[in-house]
């Protein structure tokens, strides 16, 4: 098989990238390992998607459906392969795939990698205690509840106040599962403020800040979880232990960009742990573009869609003969935890995503010749700014700084 562009993953980023490339009259193959397109959107039945991109509020499945319709509209250009797993990507621009039809090779001119992220599993947290059933990552609990129609337990504690954690606290409550609290290691909530209000406060679910799980108990099913307060270095403080008698523990403790398939092909960014990209979506390997949560963990699917489209457009230009350099590095400076993209190619304006390092009341963002002031910043909410090309002229590197005002 031959194609112009191979898109790996048909979640928000992959679908947008495939459609963008098809609009440039290229032949696209999109490989999705699940049985349907849409990715994690399919299990996110809550609303709040699309406010930026569509200027209306949609559920995850509704948001996915809009792009699925587009995939169908461009069916002449886009071949959608579901239940199709990419086994390998080779240096000679071939990929080895497997599906219900068998194992086959695909020759492509460019790849857009949009494999998303995986959840940090319970095992990696090294929490002492037993290894009972009843411990789920938030995404697994969400899939079991929303796709497989299964209650995950009767009485639950949530660890991690990231968005999925808070959304699952509400979801479990709505389905009659008692949620006894949400535990957060940081001194502030890990997710969006709107979720703290809509998912926790509105349902009287307590949020335990600066706290962590120190032990899980239960030889068969989970029976008890011990939570303790932590000091500034996140070390549990002896004597602060609290016991929660629950049969279910739901973990929302972080997402890890899925990069393993590209291990030896592209460079990674050590802060995002994702694929290092320029503002064109191009990786360190010129024919491989990437977008979405495999590059950095985004707050909103709307951002992911935009980045997918951008990667689709530039990958198309690459296939048509345009060449871009990776460009100058973008580096986090004062009070900045991480930035995306990781390089600025000098082509086009720069849409810059960043997270501050600590909560800040007032701050001045400085990037090259660009300045903008912000209020009430928190690390859990991504800042997005569009910086005109002319403000970034004649730089060797782009330092991103947040000055406290």
């Amino acid at each position: 098989m031959k194609t112009d562009v191979l898109v790996i993953g048909a979640g928000a980023a992959g679908m947008a990238a495939a459609i963008a490339a098809a609009k440039k009259n290229l032949k696209v193959v999109i490989a999705e390992r699940d049985e349907i397109t849409g990715g994690i959107l399919n299990q996110c039945i809550h609303n709040g998607f699309g406010l930026h991109y569509f200027r209306e509020e949609l559920t995850g499945p509704e948001y996915a459906e809009r792009f699925r319709e587009q995939l169908n509209r461009y069916a002449d250009a886009i071949e959608v392969l579901t239940d199709c797993h990419v086994l390998r990507l080779n240096r000679d621009k071939t990929a080895l795939l497997v599906s219900l039809k068998g194992v086959f090779e695909l020759e492509t001119k460019a790849v857009i990698y949009a494999a998303g992220a995986r959840e940090r599993p319970f095992g990696s947290l090294m929490i002492p205690g037993d290894r009972p059933s009843g411990i789920f990552t938030a995404g697994v609990a969400q899939r079991l509840m929303n796709i497989d129609n299964r209650k995950v337990g009767r009485r639950a504690l949530i660890v991690g106040s990231g968005d999925i954690g808070m959304i699952m606290a509400r979801r479990l409550t709505l389905e009659g599962i008692e949620v006894v609290g949400v535990v957060e290691r940081l001194p502030y909530p890990g997710g969006l403020l709107r979720n703290v209000i809509q998912c926790l406060r509105d349902f009287n679910i307590p949020l335990y800040l600066s706290s962590t799980v120190v032990e899980v108990k239960g030889s068969e099913r989970l029976e008890e979880v011990i939570v303790a307060s932590v000091d500034e270095q996140f070390r549990p403080i002896p004597g602060t232990e609290k016991s929660f008698k629950v049969d279910t523990l739901v973990l929302s403790v972080g997402l890890i960009p899925q990069v393993e398939m590209l291990n030896s092909l592209v460079a990674l960014d050590k802060r995002t742990r994702g694929i290092a990209c320029s503002n064109t979506g191009q990786s360190s390997n010129e024919w491989i573009f990437a977008a979405g949560n495999c590059t950095a963990i985004f707050d909103l699917v709307d951002y992911v869609t935009r980045e997918g489209e951008r990667a689709g457009e530039y990958a198309s230009r690459y296939v048509n003969g345009d060449r871009f350099s990776l460009g100058i590095p973008i580096v986090p400076g004062e009070n900045v935890m991480l930035t995306f993209p990781n390089f600025y190619s000098g082509v086009d304006d720069l849409t810059l995503y960043l997270r501050c390092r600590k909560p800040m009341e007032r701050a001045l963002l400085k990037v090259g010749g660009f300045e903008k002031s912000f209020e009430d910043l928190t690390p859990s909410e991504m800042i997005v700014v569009k910086i005109p090309e002319r403000k970034l002229a004649n730089l060797d590197m782009v330092e991103v700084r947040l000055e406290e005002v």
């Binding site: 390992r33 219900l100 194992v103 599993p121 337990g153």
Partner: protein, 479 residues
Amino acid sequence: MRIAVIGAGVVGSLIARELCRYDVEVLLIEKNLDVGWGVTKANSAILHAGYDDPVGSVRARFCSTGNEMYTELSRELDFEIKRTGSYVLAFDDREVPVLHRLLIQGEKNGVPDLSIHDRETILSREPRINPEVKMGLWAPTAGITEPWMVAIAAVENALENGLKLFLNEEVIDFEKQGNRIVGIVTKRRVHRVDVVINAAGLFADEIARLAGAEYVPLHPRKGQYILLDKKLGNVVKSVVFPTPTEKSKGILVLPTIDGGLLLGPTAEDLPADRKNDLTTTSEGVQAVKNSVLKLVPEIDFSLVVKTFAGLRPESPQKDFFIGKSEIVPNFVNAMAMRSPGLTAAPAIAKYIAEEVLQQQMGLSLTTKKGFKPTRKGIRRYAELSLEEWQRAVNENPSAGRMVCFCNEVTEAEIVEAIRRGARTLDGVKFRTRAMFGRCQGGFCMSKILKILERELKTDASQIVLKSPNSWIVDGKVRE
């Protein structure tokens, strides 16, 4: 004649399989929901060379022989072993004589090809090892395997040769006539038997006491482990031990069969009433971290996949307790199978069948016609050639549907594992390696639950992780 083996760990399973060579009825009785789920499920998975066991000990008698038997056994039963070799490393001058003592002990125990390597040789073979190393004892016959897979393979083969397997049946009593046992009472039924072999792992002392036979008291020795991502699979190529102490072989660094990296174990002696204590502790995990950094100074602990604990049966004698009872004439013990129990198991199985039962107890066992010594493992499609895989998908499309992405396990493999006896999530995991990888089932657990539900024609709420009350999901969200 009916011979019953109590305990389907690696020792009991191999004994049961060995007995299936003869014209007798063989019963294997296990209290867990699957085979290989006691001591066998969580240990270092090493095929020891045999230099570590005192000359003249029962351990020494069976270790190097068992080690050698694994080559043919793994071929017959189609499970994986890797002869990685092992190093015992000395980091200061006081430790060097210990290596020489182990070398001499090993040679007396019949361990082949032992040698002492200098620093340069060690670092050329294992460049990630702490450069402060002085000397190392190299044992090329040491290796690694998946212990539970040995038990699974042995039982599958035995079942094909007539074994009767009883899972989820805890032995609670014996019926006796005089000193002889005539019946094994489990929570479900009474098994009429002529001979009983006690391979009940950590609980073998309690079984022997119930039977009125000799035993050595057993207590659990806990070992905590850290398993790391496949990305670190090449940190070491061989099994790397520190210089041993009186108590144990120490905390080690080794590759796993499927390409990961395993660190551990601690050696924590627990009282005899904590034989089910599989908890990890922050102290234990920290002890593992601290110790291994002396062997390999750079390990990226952000790549931890999981921490877990196993228990091994220890006795005051620190030696196996194997043989026929003098009190109960039809009762045989295979207990106190501490390290190197896994390595010794095939040799012990043969010894019990040939010497104990036939020579010492005078049972006349005739070889069964048509015994089939081989078993085929579940095909791992991702390891086949592309042509073979394509042919398999043509016959069965589910061989092309990837379910576990981390370890590349297809739906066909999961269905086959269920056909062969997996009834639980752990049953699937330990047979196929699905859910064993870096996402720990994040992507595939819910899919596997549905496959189990479909294949077993049951409801997901009835499916458990590993034991009768370890339910996964409750009722439906919407009817």
